[in-house]
């Protein structure tokens, strides 16, 4: 049995304390010529987990109003959210992200709390559109919640009435950035 040398990953192991190191640094192969190189990647567990999480954001299909149509279009053939690993789920138990797409009324408010508490941890909330951000056009109405952040904690605010699919796309990418910066493993430990 010949002794194999493994490729050494430079740079990738150089993670900063805030966990912001990026995966996918240069691979230097040290294997024998002609032999397929077994790839080994060394990185921090946080980064690895975040990499997985960021590329499998399953969002809850929670479309209440106009923004819901743009949410549908974003999942459609042109913008195609699937390519970022973001697919919609019908049940909060299977989702990481609550996209509040549309106006929330007081009658709906309790249900939003319930849905939020049913999401699997760690969970994120994306307030899509002006209504979810601050009540939007309907801020002055007697029955509309002036911003979903008075019911649940919000991670990303996406302005627009309704936001374009490209904007929602960008919001998902920003959420990925946010996830990459998190030290999730530490949070679990204590």
């Amino acid at each position: 049995m010949t002794e194999r040398t493994f490729p050494v990953v430079k740079d990738a192991a150089v993670a900063k304390d805030d966990g912001s190191a990026v995966l996918g640094a240069t691979l230097t192969s040290c294997s024998q010529p002609g032999e397929p190189s077994p790839l080994v990647l060394t990185t921090k567990l946080d980064n690895l987990i975040n990499w997985f999480r960021g590329n499998s954001i399953w969002y809850l299909l929670f479309a209440t109003a106009c923004c819901g149509i743009e949410l549908m279009q974003t999942g459609g053939p042109r913008t195609d959210l699937d390519r970022f690993g973001a697919v919609f789920r019908a049940s909060p138990r299977q989702s990481d992200l609550l996209i509040v797409a549309g106006t929330i009324t007081y009658k709906m408010a309790d249900r939003v709390r319930l849905l939020y508490s049913q999401l699997a941890e760690p969970k994120y909330v994306l307030a899509m559109g002006s209504c979810a951000n601050c009540g939007g056009l309907f801020q002055g109405s007697y029955s509309v919640v002036p911003g979903v952040d008075s019911i649940v904690p919000v991670d990303i605010y996406l302005p627009g009435c309704p936001p374009r699919p490209e904007a929602l796309n960008e919001a998902i990418l920003r959420l990925q950035d946010k996830m990459r910066g998190e030290r999730w493993f530490h949070r679990i430990k204590g």
Binding site: L61, A65, I69, M72, K107, L114, S141, S150
Partner: protein, 555 residues
């Protein structure tokens, strides 16, 4: 029949003389509340009147003037219409503001059931003899009736601050405790299974809740619980000027925003007495019909998805993106257009846009046939929908169904044909009615296929309109700021049926009362009547075939 003839017929038929309010645009007969039921029954059953459809019930709060000794009143307005004779009438009854009570007419027109509940909820009018007078839009524990002029909203609701100042001062929400928020049914337990469907359910097209009572998998009773998207648009219109309400109408029906724009513009034009330039009318028709295509693409794409076929939906989204591009060229927005203005449109449709539209139509028309080969003839699809939830013509008329849902039941009624507005009178197209293509007339398949065929008619209309469009201005030169005191009702034929706009003006620059009548509201109320005996899974297909959307139901 003209209003005078109708008035005379009522007088001779019932032997009496009613007051008439004829200085307004659509004159109204004022009926004392004791005689309301007799008059309504007569209007419906008399051979020469046959007012089979109740369009809308509106409550108008008229509090006492400050230095007046008279007590205030609440008007309840009934807009009636006959599909047989094609005439309309408005009747009003005046109630005491302190204890407004009137007899229910829900047994005369079944659609009145929900309209009366809404009037009770928002204005506090009690309808005596109503079997189920509960709040419909607002939560059960809500206090007060918002459409009263002296209504004061609460400072907080279930711990949520409601005013802007309170929101800014409130601490950031970090933890959410869901303990007391499990939804509960207020029905007494029985041996049948009680099931809560919604308000968050992917197949309900937005947020609405169904309380189901099932025997195994057979539905015994379905009670729709709406109002989860009640945004109080009618109250907001009272605070904002006439042109300022235009963007709000976009959001009543986000899939058919052009039609709500158009309806509001038409109502205001009637009020202000403004003439629309001819080119603007053609711009409106082209934009509206493109919008109808976009809406029907969602409707006919979602229905297969609801019964398990995802691919057709993706096909239609592809086409819809192109309509969205065209809409952006026309008015700069993809979904909430805000395209129309009182007296015209905001931007012209230039030749480049017309070329793009015509080019796309040439591609799109064969796609409809391709779509039919893909799904409309698919055996599984047909079996799910044919003969399912049949709505006979008389039920459809009684519940005041509108648009494709009404026509699928075999009733030949299209506002574009029967009461032509804009330039629809000059354009040639057919009204599609249900033929029982795969089962019986008025089944879910008919409702689906009506929409497919209507898309072909829309294509025809757009081609003609592009061809006939004259040169000229696109907006009326001068629009007054304030209209005279008047009441108008304008209607357009939207993708979900007739969009009605009833506007009451008191001579100021803001509407005194605005009332929107939308197709999904009545479509939702018919569900309770047609579902007993269906399978649970059919309910989802039925909602899809009715093409209801939540903001239209709740406004």
């Amino acid at each position: 029949m003209e209003f005078r003839d109708i008035q005379e017929r009522v007088h001779t038929g019932l032997g009496g003389s009613f007051e008439v309010q004829d200085e307004i645009h659509d004159p109204a007969i004022i009926v004392p509340k004791e005689q309301l039921r007799a008059v309504c029954g007569f209007l419906r059953d008399d051979e020469s009147l046959r007012m089979g459809t109740l369009r809308i019930i509106t409550g108008i709060d008229r509090p006492a003037k400050k230095d007046s000794t008279e007590s205030g009143s609440i008007e309840v307005v009934y807009h009636l219409c006959s599909y047989v004779h094609g005439h309309t009438v408005v009747i009003k009854t005046l109630l005491d503001r302190e204890a407004p009570k009137v007899d229910s007419v829900q047994d005369i027109w079944p659609t009145a059931n929900w309209h009366e509940r809404e009037t009770y909820d928002l204005l506090g009018v009690e309808f005596e003899g109503h079997p189920d007078l509960r709040r419909i839009m607002l939560p059960k524990d809500w206090v007060g009736h918002p459409l009263r002029k002296d209504y004061e909203p609460p400072k907080e609701y279930h711990g949520i601050p409601t005013t802007r100042e309170a929101v800014l001062q409130a601490p950031r929400v970090e933890k959410v405790s869901p303990a007391q928020h499990e939804p509960k049914s207020d029905e007494p337990p029985e041996r049948f299974i009680q099931l809560n469907m919604g308000p968050h359910h992917p197949a309900t097209h937005g947020v609405l809740n169904f309380l189901l009572e099932t025997d195994g998998e057979i539905l015994r009773r379905v009670k729709p619980d709406v109002g989860y998207l009640h945004r109080g648009m009618e109250k907001l219109a009272e605070r904002i000027s006439y042109p300022g309400t235009m963007p709000f109408t976009d959001r009543i029906d986000y899939l058919g925003a052009m039609f709500t724009n158009h309806g509001w513009a038409m109502a205001c034009e009637k009020l202000f007495g403004v003439e629309v330039p001819r080119r603007a009318d053609f711009c409106r028709v082209i934009a509206s019909e493109l919008n109808r295509l976009a809406s029907h693409l969602i409707a006919t794409g979602c229905l297969p998805m609801e019964v398990g076929a995802f691919t057709p939906f993706i096909h239609w989204l592809r086409e819809r993106e192109i309509i969205n591009d065209i809409m952006e060229m026309i008015c700069g927005a993809r979904l909430t257009y805000n395209y129309m203005r009182i007296g015209g449109v905001s931007r012209d449709i230039d030749q480049a846009t017309i070329d793009k539209i015509l080019g796309w139509l040439d591609n799109f028309e064969p796609t409809i046939d391709e779509f039919n080969r893909l799904i409309s003839g698919n055996e599984i699809f047909v079996k799910r929908l044919a003969n399912m939830a049949v709505i006979p013509a008389e039920v459809a008329v009684g519940y005041s169904l509108l648009g494709p849902n009404l026509r699928a039941s075999g009733v030949d009624w299209d506002v574009r044909k029967n009461e032509p507005y804009s330039v629809y009178g000059e354009l040639e197209f057919d009204v599609v009615t249900g033929q029982g293509w795969r089962g019986s007339i008025g089944d879910s398949y008919d409702r689906y296929f009506c929409r497919i065929l209507e898309m072909k008619e829309s294509v025809k209309i757009i081609r003609q309109a592009c061809d006939l469009m004259p040169e000229g201005p696109i907006i009326a030169p001068k629009v007054p700021k304030k209209p005279a005191a008047n009441e108008v009702y304008a209607r357009t034929e939207g993708p979900r049926g007739e969009a009605g706009f009833y506007v009451v003006s008191d001579g100021s620059d803001k509407p005194y009362r605005a009332r929107y009548r939308m197709g999904s509201f009545t479509a939702m109320s018919v569900i309770e009547a047609v579902t007993p005996g269906l399978m649970l899974a059919d309910l989802v297909a039925l909602i899809g075939s009715l093409d209801t959307i939540a903001p239209e139901v709740d406004r």
